[in-house]
Amino acid sequence: MDSRRQRIAIGYIILIALLIALVILNICVGSADIPPQRLWNALRFPENDKVAYNIVTGLRIPRTAAAAILGGALAVAGFLLQNFFANPIAGPYILGISSGAKLTVALLMVISLSHGFAANSAEMVLAAFAGSLISMGLILLISSKVRRMSVLIVCGVMIGYICSSITDLVVNFSDDSNIVNLHNWSMGSFSGIGSTEVITAACIIIPVCLCAFMLSKPMSAYQLGEEYARNSGVHIKAFRIALILLSSLLAACVTAFAGPVSFVGVAVPHLIKSAFRTAKPVIVIPASFLGGAVFCLMCDLVTRTLFAPTELSISTVTSVFGAPVVIYMLLNRERWKENG
């Protein structure tokens, strides 16, 4: 008992330490390196070091905050979906939910650009939410027909491809100078997110994650199967709808601000569960949020610094780290099935 608690406590301490370290690193490192000493001074006396102050508050802090919050949201969304489908490989990107959101956001952007108005963040989130719900609906339809999880995953990936190709089509046919932005966004990136957008994102994501946390108890019963949960007094219908809405909202929010970000939703909860040796939602949801934040901060740092001044898209980096984890899980699962 004690060793388990210790493991969880140590896990949390490491996550928080990593988070703090990466936040500082992300703010300090960049095309213009700002050492912590200078950062400290610039924040205390903005007048003395205007350049540093502007870079830090205008660009780096919003971007860092975005990577942390959106990364956390993705990991929590992944964990919710994994519980919903009782499948450890489910995630917003793999099931095509992010791509659905991406499609509707791209449509909104193109329409708004061609009509000469700029869509605000709330509209973007709404569009993304609608798109993610459409994808989710398709996936639910398929999952009611086929019980096999591998089929579901393949269908999700296919839905993702369809949505992505339509998005590309839309992007190609719209001729506007802003299209470069749109193109960057459709590849996934934390760059160019301003402080108002970060605040909007936080206002959505933090309450949603708290709601998800409050669902930990029914979720833990649901992990033992739908029948078990129903017998424990869980209102299954309401619970399932809540899971769908919360995970779609999280995925939509991330997509609206940063575009599609791959594999975070699958890899992070898995890493957290195996490190903490538990799948209890009460423990894993907050830890996944922290883990997602750490993972995305790390990946964002790589996108900015590896080939600086050229920036990579965030999914390029998250895939490199995330996809092997998914492959490992698939292999492990097959072996596990054979033994079971």
Partner: protein, 371 residues
């Protein structure tokens, strides 16, 4: 009258519009075991699922204690009825103890954190089903029998009035089957729980149940004690057994005997003949047997398998008439096997049969093989 755990009035069950069983009137008393038996697809699982509100009834009412099932809140229901259905549970990073702890679900607060009292109950349940040794093992890695026990421990620490189990022993080996039955028996008497389950194992159903509900077609056919059900060939009728038979005393099956002119005569009695009869059946050799008293332990097997059987009424000396009949059949057989190990006043004529066979040189001694 004993305290009622669960009872039904005119209950009809089914899926959607499709009625499967109707007119179910049962009462499961606390401290007693009620078992549902009946052929495959008769709707036993459907009935059980309706009793625990996994399915809505198509008509009628289920009462848990004094309360109507549909009026209970989710939490009240969870406290009063625990369920183990057949679906296999897959878990991730859950120890057996974690699974047992989930049993306390309806008693814990908003986030499901267990109090000291809850933990006590969990420990008690773990002790009761004797899984202390595996409590910290991964639930997904223990054997089916252990897993079933862990789930029962979870149900126990919920402290329900009613425990519902759908074919709880189907995939277990005989050791675990018996252990599980022992646990259920103790649970019923010590915790005063009403247990309702479905079983395919008639031998176990007969031994463990206080009441049996027989479901066939769209109606429950009979509801009564095992003594009332395992009688008059009813079980064979219930399951529509044609290619074999069922011994009502033991609840055990026997294959259909080989028809035809008997080739072997078995002098039996006392129990040692059973192995011989079954071996002959395996070899596919039609045989005759005699002279068996109707209260002999061999009688059920012999009457199920022998092509011809000479019997004598219970506790009577073997009559001249029976002897003559046996002798006549024996003289038509190619060979004779003596399975009886001893002879006494009751079966003296069997010794004579043996002597006659020996004289005719048709007695096979020792072990016999397919010749």
């Amino acid at each position: 009258m004993a305290e009622s755990g669960l009872s039904t009035r005119e209950l009809s069950v089914g899926y959607g519009k499709k009625l499967i069983v109707s007119g179910i009137e049962i009462s499961a008393e606390r401290g007693k075991i009620l078992t549902l038996i009946g052929p495959n697809g008769a709707g036993k699982s459907t009935v059980l699922k309706t009793l625990c509100r996994q399915l809505a009834p198509l008509g009628g009412t289920v009462y848990i204690g004094e309360n109507k099932l549909e009026e209970l809140s989710g939490n009240e229901l969870a406290r009063s009825a625990a369920v183990l259905l057949t679906g296999r549970v897959r878990t991730e990073y859950m120890r057996c103890r974690d699974v047992v702890e989930m049993g306390r679900y309806p008693y814990t607060g908003r986030l499901g954190v267990l109090s000291a009292h809850d933990r006590e109950k969990v420990e008690e349940a773990i002790k009761k089903v004797d899984i202390e040794g595996i409590a910290d093992c991964d639930f997904d890695r223990v054997s089916d029998g252990q897993r079933q026990r862990v789930l029962i421990a979870g149900a126990i620490c919920r402290e329900p009035q009613v425990l519902i189990l759908d074919e709880p022993v189907t995939f277990l080996d005989i050791k675990y089957k018996l252990e599980l039955m022992d646990i259920l028996k103790r649970l019923a008497s010590e915790n005063n729980t009403a247990i309702i389950m479905s079983l395919h194992e008639l031998d176990l159903a007969q031994r463990v149940s206080d009441k049996l509900l027989c479901i066939k077609g769209d109606r429950p056919e009979r509801f009564g004690s095992p003594e009332e059900i395992f009688t008059g060939g009813y079980i064979e009728e219930l399951y529509g057994i044609e290619k074999g038979s069922l011994c009502e005393y033991y609840g055990t099956p026997e294959l259909l005997g080989c028809d035809g002119e008997p080739r072997v005569f078995v002098i039996g009695g006392g129990g040692s003949g059973i192995a011989v009869y079954r071996k002959l059946r395996r070899l596919g050799i039609p045989f005759a047997a005699g002279i068996i008293h109707e209260n002999d332990i061999e009688y059920p097997v012999a009457s199920a398998l022998a092509a011809k059987l000479v019997t004598e009424r219970a506790f009577e000396l073997i009559s001249e008439e029976s002897y003559r009949k046996a002798f006549e059949i024996m003289s038509k057989c190619e060979s004779v096997i003596c399975a009886a190990e001893s002879f006494g006043t009751m079966n003296e004529p069997c010794r004579e049969l043996l002597n006659e066979a020996e004289r005719a040189g048709r007695l096979i001694e020792g072990a016999f093989d397919e010749k």
